[in-house]
Symmetry: C2
Subunit: 327 residues, 2 copies
């Protein structure tokens, strides 16, 4: 089913995607060659362009027809790239999208400054919407994401992180940006309040489902599928829902074994296989999948306010794809 | 004369300054305690609040009377603090405003993220101006500053930096932000174009003079006055105008001696005294002072378009102060 959905989405977004790629290139110049080089390393490493596509189709679904949706959509890819650059420096991650992380090639300070530059670039394009509400949405995204990342650093390695705390972290880390992209589509289209609320809710639930699926993949996908070693979250001390739920159900023995595994920094395939088995046995995998499915259902329900359209079909497909994808 | 000017300025800005301090505090909450703590360490370490005061009086000079100038002025102090946090991480500076630099107390990544947060906070307040042009000014400031800082890193230690390259660096590093604060005052006041241009030019020349004076102080002030050891720029490999001009006038002997001094990372008071003597003998100190004086004159001339007012008097005093100040 997943391959089918993916194929359908690819056919529907093909022409837009080409234009988004072109706009991302064009809006990066004319700038310092080094900034372009660092930014391009990540930006053109095969991202899915999920956020631009969501903004474009949210706008169209609300009847936007002023012709700037491709330009405006780049805001959310630049913002996304800026946060990835900063997060990789913060986390000390060595890989991203199957390539070496930027800060392992250039000095971390240069990567930080390139992130700042991309944020500024996003802002510059946002000012062209001439909508203070879009600016306000972007400001809230950036505030939430920077605070969320600091919060996650503070909570690193805490084995007693609750599901509620996890939900708050992934909301700030992932959902607010996806939500902001969808909502901004409604704002530039000057959509009525109920449509804006529908897209806001759709974006929130899609973002939550997307991150939960990501956190599941960290325990279920192969290294080739992920473009990095699985279990990276655990080794970085990040507790995600599969672990949180399993720890809550674990007896003392299992609990101790899991915490001991988390404390090891070297990747041991055998030990990791054992962890995966326990996460399955203790219900963490199934529970996370279930929560993600519920968010997908809520995302789709939030679109009920809209009449059928090609963009609506696409947003529904993206919701389904968010939890069936392999990468 | 300097003490007189300073006293006059302090008397004129006293009540505004109190309100700016209050607004800076209030707009930082309610947020994560750690973010507040890191941001406050720098924000409330005795900054001069030059940028907010410039924006407030630029707006008033253009007849702004809607009562939000204090709130809007915090944009430029938050922006300034955000860039200082990132720059200190980038430069590995150990002191700022006489206190330990934030990244020597907290992890550098947390400081980077706090910088991001302050930038977002600035943006959030900027969205309240409901002026896409103010947003655009801020976007250009952030783009210029991040590119400028990368540029400066790339040029570190280059003994052949030209005066034109130096001017470009300090424009991006300092002048664009001061210029943006002044210009935004005109924009929120919906001032006619010639007034906006006047303030834009004033801000540019003031910023250039300010940075040149700063670069002079690095060779002429004492450690107590600076809140850090003098000669820091040189030890970080940053060529500023006193050195650039002196190197251009130096014979082979002096040139070699200066380059050798620059290459040393340990602070040697005797050697530093020798360097100061050469910078004086070779004209670098006098030339830099002369360029700064010219910028001050140009800044004041740019205000000719305005009728006399208290705010105009203040902006003229600030221009004078920029090059007579001791810290």
């Amino acid at each position: 089913m997943s391959a089918d959905i993916k194929q359908q989405i690819i056919e529907m977004v093909g022409p837009d995607l080409e234009q988004v790629e072109k706009a991302l290139e064009e809006n990066l110049s004319p700038n310092l060659p080094l900034v372009r080089e660092i930014a391009s390393h990540l930006l053109f490493a095969g991202g899915k362009r999920l956020r631009p596509l969501l903004m474009i189709h949210a706008a169209r679904m609300c009847g936007y027809a002023n012709g700037y949706e491709i330009l405006f959509s780049t805001i959310f890819e630049y913002l996304h790239a800026a946060t990835l650059l900063h997060d990789d420096v913060v986390d000390g991650a060595d890989k991203r999208r199957g390539k070496a992380a930027a800060h392992t090639i250039w000095d971390a300070p240069k990567v930080v400054l390139t992130g700042d530059f991309l944020l500024a670039r996003a802002l510059d394009i946002a000012s062209k919407t001439r909508s203070p509400r879009v600016i306000s949405v972007i400001a809230h995204i950036t505030q939430a994401m920077s605070q969320g990342e600091i919060d996650q650093m503070e909570n690193k390695g805490r084995p007693d992180l609750s599901e509620a705390e996890y939900n708050e972290i992934i909301e700030r880390k992932t959902a607010v940006l996806i939500q902001g992209a969808c909502r901004s589509g409604a704002i530039v289209a000057e959509a009525p309040e109920e449509e804006e609320t529908g897209l806001k809710d759709y974006g929130f639930h899609l973002g939550m489902a997307f991150q939960m699926a990501d956190d599941l993949l960290d325990y279920t996908a192969t290294a080739e599928e992920l473009g990095k070693n699985p279990g990276a979250d655990m080794r970085e001390g990040k507790l995600t829902l599969p672990l949180i739920h399993s720890l809550a159900n674990a007896d003392d023995n299992d609990r101790e074994w899991i915490l001991d595994t988390m404390a090891r920094t070297e990747f041991d395939p055998e030990r990791f296989a054992g962890l995966k088995q326990r996460l399955a046995d203790l219900g963490g995998i199934a529970y996370t999948g279930e929560r993600a499915v519920r968010h997908v259902a809520a995302a789709k329900a939030a679109l009920d306010v809209f009449e059928p359209s090609e963009s609506k079909t696409l947003l529904n497909l993206i919701a389904d794809y968010s939890i069936t994808r392999k990468v």
